[in-house]
Symmetry: C2
Subunit: 493 residues, 2 copies
């Protein structure tokens, strides 16, 4: 029943929901129902399912996702960027010729129902560029959190989703060379440190790659295509990549010559001085420019304390067409094993001009966080913790065997008191619920307190409060209930 | 350049951005660029624009939107619902026959690019029902915030958008009659009170409407169609609606008989006792059931202190096909003028069964907040306030006329200190920026403090801090800077 793409995803939360249902069912349900369809229900065969390659997020997953978003938003706005939101749909012409040949195949198009020809956005960078061009902004910072869409084919996709979140931060307008790049790298570091993740950031420079390919003898018209082979070096071994390059039409000598460079990687400053020893690079104009920009970058990352995370890695190429300068990619590590890329970006000085009516030169640099891998990693980490409800949450429960309708209203009265006091709480919707069932439910979903009410307590204006953390039970005046719970002062997840 | 649909929206924030650009431009920009297109830019004519009926949200608008979302989330989770997220796309078959004839026309379909036939979601209720059916949940609460899509035609739409947010809260599973409905109404009241809005909530009951139409002599097969005419009574006068009904094929007598009932509205308890005087309703089985449910509801809303907001209004019908019991709609008021509906919902006991494989009876009740009107209202309210940046935000600025590259690094060092200390801050990306320009920028975007650095201060390990709120200027040791700013203790917007 659960589609293939969803199975690839950690199932812990799905199975948790299913495991839970018997208890919550008996807890909430006041009458039993037959499963017979009533008159109004059509008898057409229908099996409920989610679209292929997409997925629902359960409340347990959403709790983690919101934690990640909060962290991302906090860091982005600490750098005084405002938040932008753009529609999920763009005019198809806005997206064409931005993502290379392979990217173009993955774009979702809307059916032609009359009116404009529309597509779903493939990333957040092109919509940003469209917004900046449309509003004629020249100097601006913004962040954006949103879903993007790619028609990945399940065979090739290896767990990639067709709908997934990106979190982008971009700076529009030119500054001191490499200062904006250094701030973007700082932002990546702040977010990943705050999420307590282990990572490195690969950096390289598009002009350096261009220079390397040129001095290695790669024909200029093949550079783009060869770059995309080089980009596979993080997943494939050199011989496989070399073979692919030769199939793309370069000689074995040229391939070997490229291979000499693109397997260089390591600590930022030491690789930089190693590269400076290659005369053919320093004597090449773009190669030399790239090296001097990298040097400036590392001076700034030294100031910002982020150089330790950088790996200067000449195999990094980044697939998209629009990068023009520094490029980078953050890799999530588990001890020393790579769990894949979790952020990527770079300088793209020509994209906005392409989308502007008068082709106004508007340089830009940014990063896109691919948060899905972060979610998956954190879900695994928190899978045994009860994170759904805050620790000061309350279940208002009915004690004893009394079956009086009166107690429904009394429970509701206590809930109202707590809600008005800002305390998260709920009650069973049943007229009567046994004590064991209510206590079991509260423990299972991770509620902090049970407020027990019974007829004798109500008469005396009191309730019994049981903490499910300390197991203390206290009789509390109803009038003091809000401050009693608040004074326990447990913080939320 | 701005599409028609966007013009309908308050323009204040768009024009603010445009007004700002000259200053921020001179502030950030370090060199000037020619507007000549470079080699890589294609010369195809392209005008950047947003899809018709959709819109971008600027950072100023997003600040307000996030404030609304925070309020909504806080109230929803106070009632211990978890958050759900579902894909923007659903299988087309999931959406068919859920929204009536008129709704169906508004659904966006994806192009057939091979694979499944997909559509964009029209609301969040059907995806919820699909999720509940798929995961076989019987007793559950959830909330969801997300965009929905409707192909409104601009002529007919009167400022409606084709992409807009909904915020939904739903309770799945049966409880004591009307207790869940009362909690949903409480949630609506809590959110709208917290946002400091003036409103009323119209309530009615589908079974009451059915009974009224029956006793008025409306043929049963026309009831659905006549209901949608009745629903227009909030915008059109009685004679127009009556004419429409007659055109739909009922006699003038029946129309007048319907009119006698559906113009009844007012304070909950008094209208209820008025209705009880109609023998033809109390003697009708569904009519009587509806009245007794309304009575129970008002008992609960009395406990929850929300009856004061209710208007029992027999003209309320709600367009969608799937409601089966209590229905409600919150109306935003400006003094006594209606600014339109901002929330709606009701009981829908059959929808989930329709989407479940074995047609399992799964009753449900919920509300959907249409937050776009709330955004528009609050944008107007805050249009003259600087809400984008928190009051403790800092601009690190360069004093005097020194042109030394050194100061770029010194500014970056101070920024780093502040970022690491959790304080929102930024600096100009230019090598040199004059004092007036920097101070002007900070004042305009609403920054709280300027930290001025100059060579002489740096040598002594100090900076000058100027508050833009109190205009005090203080010399502060660099080591004490973070605690100095934190101690000013301004809270964010």
């Amino acid at each position: 029943m659960i589609p293939t793409m969803m199975r690839r995803f950690p199932m812990s939360f799905y199975s948790k929901i299913i495991r839970k249902s018997p208890i919550s069912q008996s807890f909430f349900l006041s009458r039993s129902y037959s499963s017979e369809a009533n008159d109004q229900i059509s008898h057409k065969k229908y099996t409920p399912k989610v679209a292929k390659g997409m997925r629902d997020f359960s409340p347990e997953q959403m709790a983690i996702r919101e934690k990640v978003f909060e962290t991302v938003r906090a860091v982005f706005s600490k750098h005084l960027a405002g938040q932008l939101d753009t529609p999920v749909m763009e005019l198809t012409e806005t997206l064409t010729e931005k993502y290379g040949e392979e990217g173009a195949k993955l774009i979702y198009n809307l059916a032609d129902q009359g009116g404009e020809i529309l597509s779903l956005r493939y990333d957040l960078t092109v919509p940003l560029a469209r917004y900046v061009a449309m509003n004629r902004l020249f100097n601006w910072k913004r962040y954006q959190l949103g879903k993007v869409y790619r028609r990945e084919q399940s065979q090739a996709s290896k767990g990639r989703y067709r709908e997934f979140y990106q979190c982008d931060f971009d700076i529009i307008g030119k500054g001191v060379t490499m200062i904006q790049e250094a701030e973007i790298l700082k932002i990546i570091v702040e977010i990943l440190e705050k999420l307590d993740l282990k990572f490195i950031i690969k950096v390289s420079h598009r002009l350096l790659l261009d220079a390397l390919l040129k001095v290695a003898g790669c024909p200029i018209e093949k550079c783009q295509n060869i770059s995309s082979s080089i980009d596979k070096l993080d997943k494939e071994d050199w011989n496989t990549v070399k073979q692919e390059m030769i199939e793309k039409g370069i000689t074995e000598d040229v391939a070997d010559s490229i291979g000499k460079y693109v397997r260089i990687k390591g600590e930022a400053w030491s690789i930089l001085s190693e590269l400076k020893k290659f005369k053919e690079i320093t004597e090449n104009e773009t190669g030399n420019l790239a090296l001097s920009e990298l040097e400036k970058l590392f001076e700034f990352t030294d100031v910002l304390g982020t150089t330790q995370y950088l790996s200067l890695d000449l195999s990094l190429a980044r697939g998209l067409d629009y990068y023009t300068g520094l490029i980078y990619e953050a890799i999530l590590l588990k001890t020393d094993t790579s769990l894949g890329s979790i952020a990527g970006g770079g300088r793209y000085d020509n994209l906005i001009a392409k989308l502007s009516e008068n082709k106004v030169n508007t340089p830009a640099v940014g990063v896109s966080l691919g948060v899905e891998r972060i979610f998956a990693f954190l879900e695994e980490k928190y899978k045994n913790e009860k994170i759904l409800h805050p620790k000061r949450s309350v279940l208002v429960a009915q004690a004893g065997s009394s079956n009086k309708y009166l107690l429904v209203k009394e429970r509701l009265k206590i809930c109202n008191l707590l809600w008005n006091g800002g305390i998260p709480c709920e009650m069973s919707y049943k007229e009567k619920s046994d004590s064991k069932g209510q206590a079991g439910y509260a423990g299972e979903v991770g509620i902090g307190f049970i407020v027990w009410i019974g007829e004798s307590e109500i008469e005396r204006g009191k309730v019994r409060v049981k903490s499910l953390n300390t197991h203390e039970e206290t009789e509390v005046e109803i009038n003091d209930l809000v401050s009693f719970i608040n004074n326990k002062g447990y913080s939320a997840f």
